[in-house]
Symmetry: C2
Subunit: 330 residues, 2 copies
């Protein structure tokens, strides 16, 4: 028998990992019935959520994200004796068959620790759907008592923006000598970043990493200061050898202290809640529209006409909206 | 006195640049009154649109996009004696104050040619709004007789996806030696690309560019073949010195011939029209919702509650949707 939302929440709040996993699965489902259950579970969890340090982590494939997350997670659970949940947003994973973010086998040390909870990216669906599920998973993990949440994402399109918009601090992993100064770094992403870590600063790379650090530091000076007054910090590490990981986390904590003292942590989260509200509204509107009988009946024909060019998308949109809403309720 | 939509269209179809510019300005406006006029203008232009070769161009800042577009445009208007319109999608431009895509002063040779029409990115608003306006501008330029449309975008987040979704062929500009193989290239973007051009293959860079070309060629082999059967082509050029530009355009034409012969050009445009339809619907729904009296009245209070955490976004969304639609029309 399936547990009721209440039972699920009781288990989750008591730290039952199976209950947490099941609640996240509900949040990932696109079935209307599951969505309602997921919302009920989440509502009950919300009073217990919000307490974690939420860190977003991005970087191009090959930068060593999994190794870094593994090393950082191990530092948190072993040296600091804290709990950590690892989540991921990777809308490309199911289609492209690349490495799966949040794959436990790529974080062997962390995966075996009882203080860590690792969950791969929800698969399938749009970025919007994947991001919505992960946003809910953060809150569920917090309610389950996880004190630190790491959300990793791959450097693909808009997913970094989505992850920066659900975390308190955003970390960009880079390689030493991967290019001159900001070469290869997207302008729009740089302005989301609170912390740049140059990974793989080991072996013959140590000098290049130090040079890259200086380059990034001077490049970052070119960006206008953020309203919250935190200037992005650049540091180096070797996740493979475990060096620089403690220092990276100390910067995260310094960032957190700055954001808390200045009131910007609350403001950042308030803005995130507001944008989440609008995302939810848009999702509901789209669904209500597409699932209404009048639209469902006409859509196949309209789509076909639009695809052949016999009907312009502009006119088609107007026609469908009128069919949906004949009384002209605007 | 302002011209009627009909007068505007008559001027535009006759090749009047002021009429074209005014029609694009209408398409960029967010005023409901302008939107209606813009739709009427566009509907009248649609029968005359669709004939151009639409090329999307992306690449990180510093790769020489403006120089390349200038050189390619000059090749089109002088060597080929064809017309060209240059448009841009850069949602970041107004906020970040960087260089403006489509700025005429950065394309000095092309800007002075009567066969070229250059229009900077619409400023302000979301990526959705900027993309919608540019999509309409493409059609207006086609109706005005421009045979080639170049749409440039900067390598920021989702804007590349948007531009690939409004063009027939998508070109990625790269630098020689900017990194090993695919380092710095986002996986998600690589799968949109039909053509990679390594720019700045001049001076001491010639060998590095040749090496980069081989590297990219072997890296591109790692991607699964696209359903249309076109494998991305890698070429080198020096936009500064004008070398390789003709060759780049020949690849664009080869790509076009392949897509036409295989029927994939029509399929690509059909998919674009369908996605445009859904974007329009979502925009209309959002607006109808936000502008309805019942939502407008409650929104400020609800937003405030959500921002302080007193009301969850989930519950807030449900409440607003119910307020909008009390009869439960789903």
């Amino acid at each position: 028998m399936k547990p009721s939302p209440r039972q699920l929440v009781d288990g989750l709040l008591a730290g039952d990992r199976a209950a947490l996993a099941r609640a996240i699965t509900l949040a990932e489902s696109s079935l209307p019935r599951h969505k309602e259950l997921a919302e009920e579970v989440l509502e009950r969890c919300l009073p217990h959520a919000g307490g974690a340090t939420r860190l977003g982590i991005t970087g191009v494939p090959g930068v060593g994200k999994s190794t870094f997350v593994d090393a950082l997670g191990v530092h948190l659970v072993r040296d600091r004796e804290e709990t950590v949940a690892v989540l991921a947003v990777d809308p490309s994973s199911p289609v492209h068959g690349g490495s799966i973010l949040g794959d436990k086998t790529r974080m062997p040390r962390l995966a075996s620790d009882p203080r860590a909870f690792i969950r791969p990216s929800p698969s399938g669906g749009s970025l919007g759907g994947v991001a919505r599920a992960t946003r809910q998973a953060i809150l569920l993990c917090e309610a389950a008592g996880y004190r630190n949440i790491l959300v990793e994402t791959v450097g693909v399109g808009q997913s970094e923006v989505a992850v920066a918009d659900m975390t308190d601090c955003f970390l960009l992993l880079m390689l030493p000598g991967a290019g001159d100064e900001l070469q290869g770094v997207k302008r729009g992403i740089m302005e989301l970043v609170d912390l740049v870590i140059i990974n793989k600063a080991d072996g013959g790379n140590v000098d290049r990493a130090a040079r890259a650090r200086r380059d990034y530091e001077s490049a970052l000076h070119l960006f206008p200061p953020a309203p919250h007054g935190w200037a992005p910090v650049v540091s180096v590490c070797s996740a493979q050898e475990g060096r620089g990981v403690r220092e990276a986390w100390e910067i995260v904590l310094r960032h957190r202290a700055h954001m808390q003292a200045s009131g910007w942590l609350l403001r950042r989260r308030a803005g995130q809640a507001r944008r989440w509200l609008f995302e939810l509204i848009e999702g509901h509107l789209r669904e209500a529209f597409l699932q209404s009988a009048s639209v469902r009946d006409r859509m196949p024909e309209v789509e076909a006409l639009v695809e052949t060019g016999a009907l312009s998308p502009l006119r088609a949109a107007r026609q469908l909206l009128e069919a949906w809403n004949p009384a002209g309720k605007r």
